[in-house]
């Protein structure tokens, strides 16, 4: 589904990703771990299409097409979803309008008619319950005044609404209480199917008790330096990253 080969990425002349290779097939869950500042979020942003990065070498194919030819919104319409490490507050834009616009753009892309207001609200209600978001949050502006945990749940809510093919969750588990962690894990597990894939960026082995990954990768100084099964996460928790360097 996603194939990254020899990816080099710089920001303002500083190389952050230094020759990264990764292949994610449909049906798989990959966990990416690694110390702070090694380029995990950078990788996620590059896949989602954020501007401001120089791709100095390498390529990424997604569903056998060159990913870089697509704009951010086209990537999203093709099924890529990024759960932000730091979800952005957007004052004045209500969650409802935001999601309705997004859903209808996805429907248009698939050649479907826009959802009626009633159907949309029903869908929103169904997914809201699924991720156990408080009813009042959906009437508020996007992420504005949400607590840290609420912001993270809101990312999972959006993921549940948009049903992506490839979900990249950037530390969606950070700052969550145990119940919220379960909700996030549930969200990912519900999406799990032979046609979909997820990349879960995390610092904590604990999440992987709930979302059992097929692969665990260690991203270290801009490269994947080690790949293993879920037991690698336990090893990292115990020994840290130093021994890999």
């Amino acid at each position: 589904m996603l194939k990254i080969e020899n990816l080099h990425v710089s920001i303002n002349g500083k190389e952050i990703i230094k020759g990264l290779n990764l292949q994610v097939n449909a049906g798989e869950v990959h966990a990416i771990m690694g110390p702070n500042g090694t380029g995990k979020s950078t990788l996620a942003s590059v896949i989602a299409g954020k501007e401001g990065y120089d791709i100095t070498d390498g390529h990424i194919t997604y569903l056998d097409k060159d990913l870089f030819q697509f704009s951010t919104e086209e990537r999203a319409l093709e099924g890529i979803f990024l759960g932000f490490q730091y979800p952005v507050e957007i004052p004045g834009v209500s969650m409802t309008n935001f999601m309705r616009t997004a859903i209808n753009e996805h429907r248009k892309h698939k050649g479907l008619d826009p959802l009626s207001a009633g159907d949309f609200l029903a869908l929103m209600e169904e997914k809201r319950k699924l991720v156990e978001i408080k009813d009042k949050l959906k009437n508020r502006a996007v992420n504005e005044g949400f607590s840290g945990g609420e912001k993270k749940k809101n990312e999972i809510f959006q993921m549940a609404m948009l049903e992506p093919k490839l979900a990249i969750l950037d530390e969606t588990d950070s700052g969550l209480d145990i119940d919220a962690l379960r909700v996030v894990a549930n969200g990912v597990n519900k999406l799990r199917s032979k046609d979909n894939a997820s990349i879960v960026i995390t610092h904590y082995q604990r999440l992987l008790d709930y979302i059992v990954p097929d692969f665990v990768h260690v991203l270290y100084e801009g490269k994947i330096v080690k790949t293993g099964g879920k037991e690698l996460a336990l090893q990292l928790e115990e020994k840290g990253y130093e021994w890999l360097g």
Binding site: S71, E73, P87, I90, G92, N97, T101, A117, Q158
Partner: protein, 465 residues
């Protein structure tokens, strides 16, 4: 010799004194003569004056404008030429046609709650005492040649008097229509008096009928007595060739409340001057503005709030979205006098520039002589937030819609403060249309094309949710 509009105005005033002064009480004639001397001294504002640095009137004023000293003879059927664009909006409409009160031969009306409404010229005859108690008491002729010119020349306008202790009736909608302009220089003078503990909502709509150039120089004086509450909306939808100078002078008394909005959707050069004198304790004053500017339009908002008494709150929020080569200026001046302890004053101006050529000048200014005060000011001129744009696009929303969402949200902060629901939803609609560039498309009639509302497919249906 080069044409001088100032000289022309001076000559015309002297030649037409008899008509201008007709039926005026002696006090009004004295005020006119004195303001005329001021105008001779001050002339029209120029860019050399600090308060006019960002608004250049010299090109416009170099044109040979003409003045009308006689009201139009034929009766105007206002319903034929103006239809209020706001659906389900139940207002009491009074109209000015090129500055003249429409059906000015009728005596002033008394509304069910006792409010008196009608032609300013007529009010001078019918209620001279009431008018003279407030007329020209708040307008600052000595500061601005245009205000002085208005006092000297303006023969008609709207008069509203709300007696003490009455609840709100319908909002009163003043519609100022400019028609067959052809460089017509229009001046009108409005006087609004709101009695103790009473409520008034009034709208001041400036609309063009066609695409001819005109210059409108309006002065409105508003007296808000103790405990009274006023909602004021200036809605400006003029053609690109029109210049509008709209000066509003408020005096607020003890425990009174004011919300004043200047909403500029279209116009050539628009200047809104608001002066607010907080004359006693416990006053709440909110001055809001929203301007959507494109092509070569220019909108200039100036607000002067005079905190002359303790325990008052003033809040200014002005927001603008500027496209093409549009430009805007915001000049906010809050004066907190020595006795005005426990003042709360806040000034905010935010602008979004959509192109490299659009320009916004912001100059918030606090002048504080009291020590126990809470004041803040802020101004930003910027582009849309990139992080927010990326976030929205990452959900599959197109760049175009993402920008619309952000701009709409930006404007909504002001729109949401409008307390008349029908008006709020209409402004909301107009803002959406404006953001989508649909108002400009309608080139025949600026706004009130008599055609049916078009059904548009806007994916973001803000009204239903």
């Amino acid at each position: 010799m080069e044409f001088s509009l100032k000289d022309k105005a001076i000559t015309l005033f002297c030649e037409n004194k008899e008509v201008i002064f007709q039926d005026n009480p002696a006090e009004v004639i004295r005020a006119r003569e004195s303001a005329f001397r001021k105008f001779k001294q001050l002339g029209f504002p120029t860019k050399k004056m600090e308060e006019w640095r960002n608004t250049n009137l010299s090109d416009i004023l170099s044109r040979n404008h003409h003045f009308n000293f006689e009201a139009p003879k034929e009766d105007i059927d206002i319903e034929k030429i103006f239809q209020c664009e706001v659906p389900n909006f139940d207002t009491h409409i009074v109209s000015l046609y090129n500055g003249w009160y429409v059906s000015r031969d009728k005596p002033l009306e008394t509304l069910p709650n006792g409010t008196i409404v009608g032609s300013f010229a007529r009010a001078l005859k019918e209620y001279p005492e009431l008018v003279l108690k407030h007329y020209n008491k708040y307008c600052k002729n000595e500061l601005n040649g245009l205000n002085a010119l208005n006092t000297a020349f303006a023969q008609d306008g709207v008069f509203i008097y709300v007696p003490d202790n009455v609840g709100a009736y319908k909002p009163i909608q003043i519609v100022n229509i400019l028609d067959k302009g052809n460089n017509l220089f229009v001046q009108n003078r409005n006087l609004i008096i709101v009695g103790k503990n009473s409520k008034l909502s009034f709208l001041h709509c400036d609309d063009s009928r066609n695409h001819e150039a005109s210059f409108s120089n309006t002065v409105t004086e508003v007296f808000i007595d103790e405990g009274a509450s006023v909602d004021h909306y200036k809605l400006q939808n003029l053609n690109d060739k029109t210049t509008l100078i709209n000066s509003t002078f408020f005096q607020q008394e003890k425990d009174s409340q004011l919300s004043s909005f200047a909403i500029t959707l279209n116009g050539g050069i628009v200047r809104n001057d608001s002066h607010v004198l907080l004359n006693n304790k416990g006053i709440d004053s909110n001055i809001y503005g929203l301007y959507l500017v494109d092509k070569e339009q220019h909108v200039d908002n100036r607000v002067f709030v005079d905190h002359a008494s303790p325990n008052c709150t003033s809040n200014e929020l002005f927001k603008g979205i500027l496209d093409d080569q549009g430009s805007a200026a915001f000049n906010g001046h809050v004066l907190v006098r020595r006795d005005a302890q426990q003042t709360n004053a806040c000034q905010t101006n935010r602008n979004i520039l959509l192109t490299d050529k659009a320009k916004a000048h912001a100059k918030p200014f606090l002048e504080i002589y009291a020590d126990d005060v809470k004041c803040s000011h802020g101004a930003t001129v910027g582009q849309l937030d990139d992080e927010a744009l990326f976030y929205i696009k990452s959900r599959g929303i197109s760049e175009y819609n993402a920008k619309l969402l952000l701009m709409y949200a930006f404007a909504a902060e002001v729109v949401n403060k409008i307390s008349l629901p029908a008006l709020k939803s209409r402004i909301d609609d107009l803002v959406k249309k404006r953001l989508r560039g649909e108002l400009a498309v309608c080139s025949q009639c600026v706004l009130h094309c008599q055609s049916q509302e078009q059904v548009y497919d806007f994916k973001i249906d803000m009204s239903k949710l």
